[in-house]
Symmetry: C2
Subunit: 187 residues, 2 copies
DNA sequence: TTTGTATCGTACCGATCAGTACGATAATAG
DNA sequence: CTATTATCGTACTGATCGGTACGATACAAA
């Protein structure tokens, strides 16, 4: 059975193809499990999606959170974050979390809750990080911290959406960089 | 039967609830038509979606195109465009076209083609409009016109996505305004 | 009125759906 | 070894799916 392997494969499938492309029957065939085993392990598609999303969190979001929470100069972290949202290696393009976020109302209850939890987690980390940026004078002092965090979050989301639509990394990066310049102090 | 009424109702339903929430059976019931009549008129869900999207184009995109193509100062048109993407009256939030655009690979062949056609139409109009902005000195002269158009298009898309996620209009507008400042000449 | 034509929707098709009952099989205990 | 327990997947359920055959009905031409 191997639930770990299945959750990982499901993550890749959802990430690559979206969540509306396969029925439970098809999922089970593709994941190489029987339907009863699948329902015993995950309880239904909602459970599988939660497992896949948790897997994704570990794989891609935890490293991002680590970047934001590391106690390093805002100035140095910023380009790494931008690189993180525009570049992928050996994985599907874009961001599974972002894709699910845009489909809020079409998710199962557990998956929806998980998405909202991750949203809050990221928002909090972004907010704290932005306050550092302000304290370090990298972000213009007359911008409200909460707004700066919202703004950066939106721009990162846009970059991930565009990457999902196959816009080339360099173009996406150029756009994000330009958008973030609007925040910076002109010293 | 009244295909017009049906296409309009379908547009509102897709706009409001997404495209994955109703089966053909459910669609027919909701739209008040029989399945044979539905298939005679539209040929299938792909046809209905094309009809709905054409309706949307007339309702929301044609006015936007008119704004962009009117021969008025860039400076004056810009805030109107921003208002257009952040404000809706008596309609669902966000933008049906944007929602479909993000679902590229999950659309029928006709709908996919229609989405790509509208994409091209908008990109062309945005590009021409940006060249005006450059010629009028509102956009910094060292920015490539094609890039400026891409950038503005991305920011408008992001605004429409956020509106679809129920982010309040004022907040979205503030973000777009900030992002667009990055383009402007500091005279 | 009769006949031809166009449009209607009921009632059906086989396929597939999400979900499970239950017998087969494997693993563990005694 | 036998008995017990835990896990497996085959094969089924009723529901719903996308799609259509075809008889009923409305209407136009004669």
């Amino acid at each position: 059975m191997d639930p770990e392997r299945i959750a990982e494969q499901a993550m890749l499938d959802y990430w690559q193809d979206g969540i509306h492309t396969r029925s439970v029957n098809q999922l089970c065939k593709r994941l190489g499990t029987s339907k009863p085993a699948f329902y015993r392990e995950f309880g239904g598609e909602d459970g599988l999606m939660v497992a896949a999303l948790k897997h994704y969190r570990q794989l891609r979001l935890v490293p991002l959170l680590a970047m934001l929470q590391a106690d390093r100069p805002f100035e140095y972290v910023l380009p790494e974050v931008v690189a993180w949202v525009t570049t992928e290696r050996d994985t599907p393009r874009g961001c599974l979390f972002t894709k699910l976020r845009l489909l809020r109302d079409e998710l199962g209850p557990e998956t929806g809750a998980q998405v909202r939890a991750i949203e809050a987690e990221l928002a909090k980390a972004l907010d704290a990080w932005c306050r550092q940026g302000l304290a370090q004078g990298v972000i213009q002092a007359d911008i409200a911290p909460a707004f700066a965090a919202q703004y950066i979050g939106s721009q990162l989301t846009m970059a991930l959406v565009q990457r999902g639509l196959q816009v080339p990394p360099e173009l996406v990066e150029a756009q994000v960089s330009m958008a973030l310049k609007a925040l910076r102090s002109h010293i």
